[in-house]
Symmetry: C2
Amino acid sequence: MKPLGPIPPGYEANAQGRLMIGSHDVAALIEAAGDTPLFVYHLGMVARRIDRLRAAIPSGLEIHYAIKANPFAPLVSAIVTMVDGFDVASDGELAHAIGAGMAAERISFAGPGKKARELEAAIRVGATINLESEHEADRALSIGEALGLKPRLAVRINPEFELRGSGMRMGGGAKPFGIDQHRVPALIRRLVQAGVDYRGLHIFAGSQSLDGQAIIEAQANSVALAKRIDEETGTRAPLVNLGGGFGVPYFAGDVALDVETIGAALAEQVDHDAARYAIELGRWLVAEAGVYLARVVDRKESHGKTFLVTDGGLHHQLAASGNFGTVVRRNYPVAVATKFGFVAEEEASVVGCLCTPLDRLADDAGLPRAEPGDVIAVFLAGAYGATASPSAFLGHPAAREIAISSESAVILT
Amino acid sequence: MKPLGPIPPGYEANAQGRLMIGSHDVAALIEAAGDTPLFVYHLGMVARRIDRLRAAIPSGLEIHYAIKANPFAPLVSAIVTMVDGFDVASDGELAHAIGAGMAAERISFAGPGKKARELEAAIRVGATINLESEHEADRALSIGEALGLKPRLAVRINPEFELRGSGMRMGGGAKPFGIDQHRVPALIRRLVQAGVDYRGLHIFAGSQSLDGQAIIEAQANSVALAKRIDEETGTRAPLVNLGGGFGVPYFAGDVALDVETIGAALAEQVDHDAARYAIELGRWLVAEAGVYLARVVDRKESHGKTFLVTDGGLHHQLAASGNFGTVVRRNYPVAVATKFGFVAEEEASVVGCLCTPLDRLADDAGLPRAEPGDVIAVFLAGAYGATASPSAFLGHPAAREIAISSESAVILT
């Protein structure tokens, strides 16, 4: 038996023993969507998550949403009014953010290898470009000049420090992201001389960390670094994006972050200057609000092991299969949604419908007995699910996606 | 410096030092396609590959193409006339195979968790269903009865043996694929009694093996197993699909398979009965015929390391980034296509344009000096590339794809 990850708080069973998402029975959600496989996103949970964070951090400190985590249109539109800005990573995401109603001056565009058409799109609408290299700065300046527009430019720093314990380190050594910190002051001076609209600094030291002290330390380092760069350049960064890095507990033994402690530390770090800072989060805001539902199509035995074969799989939920950024596969939180909270009766492995041994959703899990027709829920599906998976692989249809708005019966597709 | 995988034979530079694919300069191919990132598939190379295999194996033994490896429509249409059958893994692939002109009776449909609509589609058109479980057999029988059609059914066996040295083992233990071999005779008797059109056996022991002796051994085991099952059931499987498992050399030190030796062994194994057998290949037929082209957008230094940032990445070529089925990341064959065959001048890492440290195309590679505008080629991109990658991730456009037909200038999109 291998352990399953912890089911996020807020999910309960109804009297029929079926998983409820908000006020909705999963059976009703599947009927409304038409079929499985299905992603359901609970916008009320996202709102409560953001409210909790807002209460924990100093007043005025901005919360930005990195829409790469989940670009599903009804979800992005709902989040517009909940946060202070969006971070985008392509011209596609930029257009999506504008389309959702986010003001261009509240959008920042980070990411290496921005193409000419992307720089032009950002300059035309007035989004902030987080510069990833001196060469990108030159290109943005010359495109701005050609367009007769003053670009809004911020500088992304590759910091000397890293976010300890993060799933992905994005600082503390040679990196394709940002500009090594010792070269940043010269670039800022050049940008100011060139007369651009200097928008500040972006420091992203890592992601998916569950070590609160490490996050506090990285934030303190980021605040100190921003102040040092201000001093060295005689400028004042209008906004310092401290990055994110807040992880969620995917696996057995993982413990959720204490954002109240992180928020209290932030208050001390930023002192009376909170409005100058932003944190940028994707996963932490939306992961727990999403559930992936797949139906059991076959139940089979092989060499004494039980396999539940579903109509879903890694083409929709690559990360849960253990094939995206993890070395050792571990089980996400998975449950039988039509027997939710029932006692585990057997050991079974949940697999997808792809004809490859990579397509596993839960290995050797303790589950109530599930039969064809039962529905499997994979939790933490609100971030890096549908769009971070190879949806065209093997020619199956894309997963359906719906969002439910608060506790009411409104379903958005 | 980390080694690069071996560039497949058949790729040369022209007088301008640019990679040629068939008779085409990559610069011309990119112009014809409109932009990078671009997959180019060389149909002449696929044809030569199949010719070579055909010459190596006994006459009459069927070659089937598993279209999951590369479903690009012009390529699939071209392969129809080169092989004896297609294997599909979903109703989407089934429709695609029929649309490309493959006769339904030459199509087999394997894969766990077939949905009711998939079984129905296969029975309606008369494709062979490779049954993955007794429960699937019951479902196919009842759908056939409801439709008043006699289903074409084969049985996929989960063999007791495995394909040694394969990248993915699909036999030799508890597996979600096929039916444990000791239960197969009872199922075949039941199918025959039910009056179905019994089409034979499917045995798939593994994939991506570069160990020719292991493949020969698995094929011998498969032939022997099929004969034993025939004897036990008093039937004669009309076709025995011996599976595939032929690997291609992705990484430094990998050596290409000697298919002539495998073919000679097959001739002995199948004796005078070659027409009763098929081998089913995907990767081996098409991988080497594909090249992924991405343009260098930025060249940057960080802590003494050089990064070439391209407009491509793992959203198109997930496997090359090391995030699909590999535990330790190693470099695929990668080259500067606009300085092809030039001597290595520096150590550089090639990354994609996604804002994640996972997006690497070559780590610490020895390359000629490349500047923005140069084109990077990632070889072995003909299989498990575009459709096996999370194309919607971060909102970038899908890769373009073109096929070139033989040595002529015909470009298919």
